[in-house]
């Protein structure tokens, strides 16, 4: 590669990037140059590539270090920090609070439905006029702010999505909503539009599709038809069956 092809300054030089990445991984860069190189990695794909290459060299050098068994306190600390070891209610606290008002309203209705199932079963009204949503998902953004609410009736094939904040979708990309079933690959629920309220048609009833799904996620995909998420989730959150 010729230096003239890299008008973006000295960091366009692959040789220099490689040298910086090597020094970064070997730990011979001082604190400030380390920060500078990290910024460079975030902004330039070529720097990120050089770093990845050196990270794998570094791992090869590190592989000969004799292992040391961590004390059991380390895993307990990890569980505490991630909320994994806590009782279920603790893990819920983070996302449940913003949804609490919504859920309480639903539960009240559920209570009524449970106590008086005849009201529905024998009613002439179409079921969706009475039944509250059975599956509810609250998705949050990277900062943990509630960003979207998805809900569906148990036997319904419609998934109602409400965007709680505008969803930034770069030109040429599509926001796709995925269901993340426990221990299985995510599957596509549908593409999201910019509208604050929208309805996705699902391929089957929510009971059939969502009963083992404990999370929902939104990723930005090159095509609305992507069958597997190809990028990190920009929104993500728990999905629960309310009744």
């Amino acid at each position: 590669m010729n230096g003239a092809e890299h008008p973006a300054g000295r960091y366009g030089n692959p040789e220099l990037l490689d040298r910086l990445a090597a020094a970064y991984v070997l730990g011979t860069l001082g604190r400030l140059p380390r920060r500078r190189f990290e910024r460079l990695v975030r902004s330039r794909e070529s720097a990120a590539r050089a770093l990845k290459k050196w990270e794998s060299h570094g791992a090869a050098l590190a592989a000969v270090v004799p292992p040391v068994q961590p004390s059991s306190a380390v895993w307990r600390g990890i569980e505490r920090r991630t909320g994994l070891g806590a009782p279920a209610s603790r893990q819920w606290a983070g996302w449940l609070r913003p949804a609490l008002g919504f859920a309480c309203g639903l539960l009240l209705t559920v209570g009524v439905v449970r106590l008086q199932p005849d009201w529905i079963v024998s009613a002439d009204l179409p079921p969706q006029a009475v039944l509250p949503a059975s599956y509810v998902g609250l998705l949050t953004d990277a900062e943990g702010r509630p960003a979207a609410l998805a809900s569906s009736r148990r036997r319904g094939m419609d998934l109602s999505v409400k965007l709680l904040q505008p969803l930034a979708v770069p030109a040429g990309q599509v926001a796709v909503l995925w269901a993340l079933p426990k221990g299985r690959a995510p599957f596509r629920l549908g593409a999201l539009q910019a509208a604050p309220k929208q309805m996705l048609k699902m391929s089957d009833s929510s009971e059939a599709l969502l009963s083992e799904v404990d999370e929902l996620g939104v990723s930005l995909e090159p095509s609305a038809d992507s069958s597997r998420p190809s990028a990190a989730f920009v929104l993500r959150g728990h999905c629960v069956k309310l009744w």
Partner: protein
């Protein structure tokens, strides 16, 4: 060392919030990573903190890991080393080193020494001849910098040489090592 395919699968399941996979990933990788952190930080409490922080980060950010970005072990090693190096450079953790009562015991655990580790790595990578060709002081600086995280001034004190010489050795040493490792691709 570790089966990269197995770790890849575990990490994918961790991204889907599979707790059992998270524990398996921890069991498979944590001892190796703690060894690395302990060499750098030389204090077990700090090394374990770094390991804990790194794994908490893995749980939050496993979805951000991309298989094309290198092996999971490379990703995890970088996570742990970067945290440990930041801690080393930000705080004078070394200053309290000699107060640690486990110091003597720790030193006994520090075999092989950094140069020995570099030689072992060279053997494992079939690069022994190339790495042996790096001049003594350069090789020693590299090994101490990589495995023990010594800064320029610490290297100078350790080797009893001026900082200027250390910087030059390191620069040339990194360059030589870079050429050796390039043969890996």
């Amino acid at each position: 060392m570790h089966d990269p395919a197995g770790l890849d699968g575990l990490l994918a399941r961790v991204a889907l919030r599979d707790r059992a996979a998270f524990r398996q990933l921890y069991d498979a990788c944590a001892p190796q990573l703690l060894g690395v952190a302990l060499r750098l930080l030389r204090r077990r409490d700090l090394a374990e903190d770094v390991l804990q922080e790194a794994f908490a980060g893995v749980w939050q950010r496993a979805a951000a890991y991309r298989a094309d970005a290198g092996t999971p072990m490379a990703w995890l090693t970088a996570l742990v080393r970067n945290r440990a190096l930041d801690l080393l450079r930000a705080e004078r953790v070394r200053a309290t080193e000699s107060l640690d009562p486990a110091d003597a015991e720790r030193r006994a655990d520090e075999r092989p020494d950094p140069l020995g580790l570099l030689e072992q790595a060279a053997d494992a990578l079939h690069l022994r001849r190339c790495i042996d060709d790096i001049e003594g002081p350069q090789r020693q600086c590299l090994a101490l910098a990589y495995y023990h995280g010594l800064s320029h001034s610490e290297l100078a004190a350790h080797l009893g040489s001026p900082v200027g010489s250390v910087k030059a050795w390191l620069r040339r040493g990194v360059e030589r090592l870079r050429r050796c490792l390039e043969h890996l691709e």
